[in-house]
């Protein structure tokens, strides 16, 4: 018996060491037949499951677009709901292939965390949600307030900077998940709930009486939200990055979910390059020639996804603002597909 168990332990040890350190994520995903995508635990507009367990949202569409580009099937995604404080560990350890979870792009996350941001899906900023009954009109009137915040976010640090910078005192109560934070705010434990403005609008919908709460006008930080991948796999980095760019470029080129088949037959050189009727740009990424039409057929272009999930066509009704295309007054800008 002793000898058998010894052999077993040796085998396990050998298996551990054999696990390759260098990542071949695209190949792994193809072999597995499924993309593993880290999302939030339920943030309407960005990633939230409905009563049948179908995930929808802007961040979810990015995952679906990647799956569509690889498998030509937007359903081949396994969504992994993660809290703010667990998300990076899940990415580092390889539990997920891509993290698409309203995550702010910062320098330290790009470097010491061992991750790369692949672009910006939503230009956001941090704001404050208060009860209207407090009669507060500006964040500068929040001296001595109690503030609820979700732990493990850039929000926590911006908050400290803002109150210190304005010489105001405050008390911070940090919770593990968004739901606990909102519940504490609702029960009156704090006067203010702070987070990214888009998230404030989304969480306000969940409150008992949304009309009793208001988002203050101050936006105290830059929060460019985007998907993340691990360091050390440039090919996978390119795939995720260009999937998002393809969505933005499709909007700029006027390609929509409806007209994608007609546009694919177009003679315009830029459309021919995008649809792979000229050249093999998709194959250079490790995908197929028709990758752009696969993406647009599955989730639509960036504007359609925005509108459906967070914009005018959704319950959130957030204006495009900064997220409008660069040639229409916003700052969404994708490099050309060529």
């Amino acid at each position: 018996m002793k000898r058998v168990s010894l052999v077993l332990t040796l085998a396990v040890a050998a298996g551990l060491s054999a696990q390759a350190a260098s990542a071949q994520t695209l190949k792994t995903v193809k072999d597995r037949g499924m993309l593993s995508c880290g999302v939030s635990q339920g943030l309407p507009g960005f990633s939230s499951p409905d009563d049948k367990g179908n995930w929808t949202g802007l961040d979810v569409d990015v995952c679906r677009a990647i799956a569509a580009a690889i498998f030509n099937d937007a359903t081949k995604v396994k969504f992994v709901p993660l809290s703010a404080k667990d998300r990076f560990t899940a990415l580092q350890s390889g539990e997920i292939d891509v993290l698409s979870r309203n995550t702010t792009w910062t320098l330290s996350r790009d470097t010491s965390l061992g991750a790369n941001f692949t672009g910006v899906t939503y230009y956001d900023g941090q704001g404050f949600l208060v009860k209207k009954s407090l009669k507060v009109n500006s964040a500068l009137e929040l001296n001595s307030a109690s503030v609820c915040v979700q732990t493990g976010t850039t929000t926590e640090q911006n908050l400290a900077d803002y109150f210190k910078g304005n010489n105001m005192k405050y008390e911070v109560i940090a919770f593990g998940t968004a739901d606990e934070t909102v519940k504490a705010y609702e029960s009156g434990r704090c006067d203010v709930f702070t987070s990214d403005v888009s998230q404030l609008y989304a969480e306000r919908l969940k409150l008992a009486n949304p009309a009793d709460h208001a988002v203050l006008p101050e936006v105290i930080s830059k929060e460019p939200l985007g998907p993340m991948v691990r360091h050390g796999d440039d090919q996978w980095f390119d795939v995720v990055k260009w999937t998002l760019f393809a969505m933005v470029d499709a909007e700029e080129l006027g390609v929509t979910q409806k007209n994608v088949d007609e546009m694919a037959k177009s003679d315009k050189p830029e459309l021919k390059r995008a649809f792979g009727t000229d050249g093999n740009l998709g194959e250079q990424l490790g995908l197929t020639k028709d990758w752009v039409s696969r993406i647009v057929k599955a989730v639509g272009n960036y504007g359609e996804s925005f509108d459906r999930n967070v914009g005018a066509g959704s319950k959130l009704g957030i204006a495009r603002g900064l997220n409008q295309l660069w040639n229409k007054g916003g700052i969404q800008y994708a490099p050309p597909i060529r």
Partner: protein, 401 residues
């Protein structure tokens, strides 16, 4: 011709063989060496593999991050702390918060546990049924659920700061916590403390002297009037000579919250309540078992000496029961300390919340931070059980073999 007794053959080699290889002899020894070597190799492979993976992803490794600025605030800090302090400071703040809730939780859990156990053993039918239901209800509900219950129940019942429940306009209770006047040391503070310490030391000395007199000469000396006089008189004299030792800062409602005074946050109250009532249910059963393990003849013997039931328990039964109670009681203390890490669910800033939570997600150094946190819990547990073993050793020494 004298016959020299033959020297017995040296037992050294066979003894060594048995010690090293057990009954299997040298073969067993070789197998053991191989097994240890394999374990060491596995450990090495795990470390090397983790290191290679971290390097491939270019994740920073090492403990340098502890010197970096944290940049976030914490709602309860026992030592001065601001957002511009380092992660090392955050670690200390979290550790102290964990220790605070553990120590206070252990204190109350022990008291409640003993009371419930005595209640359950009481001849009073009603009392023993109430204590029994308490144990059965509390120990069968998950601790996280109880923490959330206390937190939400406590919060829901309390008014907002502007409608605080106040006592003499000095103490205020609201959903931000309990606000109490804060003592601030004045110039006469040090002599006051010195006088108090002297009074306590002398009182303890007096008490020991009276015990000694009682045991050696059978003389009963009443010491409590002297002790009381010392404890009140000496500090009073010091205060009269050196001036008022402390003034109290009265809290006042300013803006959203009270300014001035000290505050006990509701997260702390809820966590302490939940952990001490939960652990008390287990302690009650342990104490009950301990008391029942003492032979009933002891109780009868005590009664026949004319002692009250309470005195019999205190002087005869419980000292003997302690030997049985102590080891499982230590376990419960360790459980309470470890359960305090559930604090993160209600936003109490304990070690797991601020260090293994916020600090981890800001720096991304999971291996280092989880390693440190596990080491700290291990250390706290080992120190607790060492203290309890020492106490157990003293009891068994005083009770004899």
């Amino acid at each position: 011709m004298a016959i020299e007794p033959r020297k017995p053959p040296s037992q050294f080699i066979p003894k060594l063989q048995r010690a090293l290889g057990g009954r299997a002899g040298w073969g067993g020894f070789v197998l053991q060496i191989l097994f240890v070597a394999a374990l060491a190799w596995i450990a090495y492979e795990i470390v090397a593999n983790a290191r290679a993976n971290l390097q491939a992803q270019r994740i920073t490794a090492g403990f340098g991050f502890l010197q970096n600025t944290a940049g976030f605030d914490v709602s309860q800090n026992l030592i001065p702390y601001t957002g511009s302090d380092t992660y090392t400071r955050v670690f200390l703040v979290g550790l102290l918060n964990t220790l605070l809730v553990s120590v206070i939780g252990i204190f109350f859990a022990t008291i409640i546990g003993f009371l419930v156990a005595l209640g359950r053993l009481s001849p009073n039918w009603l009392l023993s049924r109430i204590a029994g239901s308490y144990v059965e209800l509390i120990r069968n509900l998950p601790p996280l659920f109880q923490i959330l219950f206390w937190y939400l129940a406590v919060l829901a019942a309390l008014p907002n700061p502007r409608q605080s429940i106040s006592l003499f306009d000095i103490f205020y209770l609201n959903n931000r916590g309990l606000v109490i006047p804060k003592p601030i040391g004045e110039p006469g503070f040090e002599p006051f403390v010195v006088a108090l310490v002297i009074a306590i030391v002398v009182s303890v000395g007096l008490w020991r002297y009276s015990r000694w007199q009682l045991f050696q000469h059978g003389k009963l000396i009443k010491v409590w009037p002297y002790a009381l006089g010392l404890l009140i008189g000496l500090p009073l004299v010091a205060a009269l000579i050196f001036g008022a030792p402390v003034i109290f800062e009265i809290p006042q409602l300013k803006g959203f919250n009270f300014a001035g005074g000290s505050r006990v946050i509701p997260e702390f109250v809820a966590l302490t309540l939940a952990l001490s009532t939960y652990t008390a249910a287990f302690i009650a059963e342990i104490v009950r078992a301990g008391i029942l393990s003492v032979h009933s003849g002891q109780m009868e013997a005590g009664s026949s000496l004319g002692l009250q039931r309470g005195s019999v328990l205190r002087l005869i039964v419980i000292p003997q029961a302690m030997r049985v109670i102590l080891p499982p009681l230590t376990n419960q203390y360790l459980n309470l300390t470890k359960n305090s890490s559930l604090a993160v669910a209600i936003g109490y800033p304990d070690l797991v919340s601020v260090f293994a939570g916020t600090t981890l997600s800001q720096t991304g150094q999971a291996i280092e931070i989880i390693g440190i946190t596990m080491g700290v819990y291990l250390l706290i547990s080992l120190v607790t059980s060492a203290l309890m073993s020492f106490y157990g050793w003293r009891i068994s020494r005083s009770l004899g073999p």
